[in-house]
């Protein structure tokens, strides 16, 4: 693990060599797990107002609600660490959803009814995510285009294409009739644990290990901090960045599998509205948009934070504008906390 990641949190206390002791508030604000404390505090605050939030089924709903979001956010974390950004993830979710569904659907799918339908369908999802990610990465590294432009164009193009593709495969606006076995990935459970959770755990743990314990992970942080220095130090910068986009694409595709499964439908507008949520979650967690800083655990915290707030607002039956304003307020609040944190560090 690159130390820089935690450095913002620890540098001050460390250089002080334990000479200075900080107040509990300062320590709390400096903690790199602040977002978890905030989530807990918020949860405890709304509990008396909507007691339903603490019921077992509500908690399990919250858990399953956050999983697909978490998986995309994990992919995004990789891209942000190298100072990139991937705005195409939601369109990958949508596009993979309809293409994958068109392979599996019982009403006229390419492999509809065949026992191969599900494995081939899943493979389609992953391939689409990987290929689009690869294409994004290719444009950003080999052609030197800015990631925001590449992926923004991808977003617009793929969203359109997803709708166009659907009209070619379905009378309605979406593709239904998905095999039971596939739907179970998004809905079912094994050993009392939702399948989606198994999937998210697998993705999360591999991502965590990849970032923290491998050469590839260290390269990514190095590229994020100083790309030129990384290049001169023999880091295959282009290839590494390309892979972050592939990872992001594949994560989006996995999220798409979960979303598509839970809605039992391949739809071309899937996930369209969650783009900013994804990026906000990662950044609230503490990953820097400027690159070089980020952790999977932080992202988990960021997603959890957003989902808890979202759920509470849903349970409160809040109107749309309240939801918007509260979300904005919360993000601003997170920003203020982060700024305070910087101040304290600077003060030394």
């Amino acid at each position: 693990m690159l130390r820089t990641a935690g450095a913002s949190g620890n540098a001050a206390t460390r250089t002080a060599g334990g000479v200075r002791t900080r107040g509990w508030l300062e320590r709390l604000i400096l903690s790199e797990y602040l977002v978890f404390y905030l989530t807990t505090a918020y949860f405890l605050a709304v509990w008396p107002i909507v007691p339903e939030i603490a019921t077992a089924s509500s908690l399990s709903n919250m858990l399953t609600d956050m999983l697909p979001l978490l998986v995309v956010a994990i992919g995004q974390t990789f891209v942000l660490i190298v100072a990139g950004i991937d705005l195409s993830v939601t369109s990958i979710i949508a596009f993979a959803s309809v293409v994958g569904a068109s392979v599996m659907t019982a009403d006229g799918g390419y492999l509809g009814g065949s026992p191969l339908a599900v494995p081939a369908g899943i493979l389609t999802f992953l391939l689409i995510g990987g290929l689009i990610g690869w294409f994004n990465g290719f444009c950003c590294t080999r052609l030197g285009m800015p990631p925001i432009i590449v992926t923004l164009t991808g977003l617009m193009f793929l969203s359109g294409t997803a709708i166009w593709y659907t009209t070619g495969h379905s009378e309605t606006s979406s593709i239904a009739g998905l095999p039971k076995a596939f739907v179970l990935i998004g809905q079912g459970s094994a050993y009392g644990v939702p399948n989606a959770l198994w999937v998210a755990l697998a993705v999360g743990i591999s991502a965590h290990l990849l970032l923290g314990h491998t050469v590839f992970g260290r390269w990514l942080y190095a590229i994020g901090i100083n790309r030129k220095a990384a290049e001169i130090s023999g880091v295959p910068v282009g290839t590494a960045i390309l892979w972050t986009f592939v990872i992001s694409g594949v994560c989006a595709a996995i999220a798409s599998i979960l979303f598509t499964g839970r809605l039992e439908t391949g739809t071309p507008v899937l996930g369209q509205r969650i783009l900013l949520d994804i990026i906000a979650a990662v950044v609230i967690g503490g990953t820097s948009l400027a690159g070089g800083k980020g952790k999977i655990v932080w992202t988990v915290g960021g997603v959890l934070f957003l989902v808890v707030i979202d759920t509470s607002l849903k349970l409160l039956g809040m109107s749309l504008f309240v939801v918007f304003a509260v979300k904005g307020g919360v993000i601003l609040f997170a920003a203020i906390i982060d700024a305070m944190r910087q101040r304290i560090i600077m003060r030394g």
């Binding site: 749309l320 304003a325 904005g328 997170a334 920003a335």
Partner: protein
């Protein structure tokens, strides 16, 4: 090793990508529709791109300082909502400057937080503003569609010297921005701050003030863009300005303004905005609609 010529060519192509894309798009659509290359249609394209272009000019200032403003679409909506709901009875010469001021003030809020919370990316601050302002506008309008009065709508149809009002606005904002960026101390300091804020501070530039000012300008331009847009489309539903930040940023970046600050300018931005609109226009002109009936 050979291929330098090729590499040079590639470089030239990349540096002039917006222009080349522009020409390619023109040629494609011109060959598909004989009405595409008419003066009338071109006026049409520029008119329709003017609100995006005005907002993109504003955001160019912010991008030049290596910042970003995601709240432009929301500022646009808030301004128009206030115009339609509370300022509808005032004459245009009063209500429009008021809305512009509101935009400036909202930009100032962005700027305030950006300056106060240095070390935190403006992305997150303006994202928060995006949510808060959209929420506020939805609350004001009760999510209903709002309408503007006939004088404003007729403004949207007015032409001076055969050139639509929107294009005049666009041209004025562009000319002013161009002069400010190139020929004023402030403009050059914007570039300096974007290139290296630490060095700018050491050179005695008031970095916080420059940052604050660019967000004010961006807010102002967003409100102006809203006015130009509403004068044309006459009514604003709850999706007014929704996700406008994407084409607006895209226009600036397509025009060669770097997201990492210090590079670019408003001329490119204008091209970027028009290019985006040209594609949309061309698609309709050639009836090559994604939603074509199958």
């Amino acid at each position: 090793m050979s291929g330098t010529a090729g590499r040079r060519l590639a470089l030239v192509v990349l540096q002039n990508a917006p222009l080349i894309a522009f020409v390619v798009v023109l040629v494609i659509f011109a060959s598909l529709s004989d009405r595409f290359l008419t003066l009338g249609n071109f006026t049409n394209i520029v008119t329709q791109s003017s609100h995006i272009a005005i907002m993109a000019i504003g955001i160019t200032f912010v991008l030049l300082t290596a910042g970003i403003d995601l709240s432009v679409g929301a500022v646009m909506y808030v301004g128009v909502a206030i115009l339609a709901l509370y300022l509808g009875d005032l004459p245009v010469v009063v209500s429009f400057p008021l809305v512009a001021l509101i935009g400036l003030a909202l930009g100032a809020v962005n700027g305030f937080f950006v300056v106060q919370m240095r070390g935190l990316h403006p992305f997150i601050i303006t994202l928060a503003m995006l949510f808060i302002l959209r929420g506020a506008a939805l609350w004001m309008t009760d999510t209903r569609m709002v309408f503007v009065a006939e004088p404003i709508m007729s403004l949207g149809r007015t032409s001076y010297l055969g050139v639509p009002w929107a294009i005049w606005m666009f041209a004025a904002v562009f000319a002013l921005a161009w002069i400010v960026l190139r020929e004023t101390p402030f403009g050059r300091q914007v570039y300096a701050v974007g290139q290296d804020p630490v060095a700018a501070g050491k050179a005695g530039i008031n970095v916080p003030l420059v940052l604050f000012a660019v967000y004010c300008i961006c807010g102002l331009c967003a409100a102006l863009g809203g006015l130009v847009s509403i004068a044309q489309v006459a009514a604003a539903s709850s999706t007014f300005g929704f996700q406008k930040e994407f084409p607006v940023i895209a226009a600036a970046v397509l025009g060669g303004t770097s997201l990492f600050g210090g590079r670019g300018g408003v001329i490119g931005t204008v091209f970027g905005a028009i290019l985006i609109q040209t594609v949309e226009n061309g698609l309709v002109m050639t009836n090559a609609n994604l939603h074509h009936r199958w």
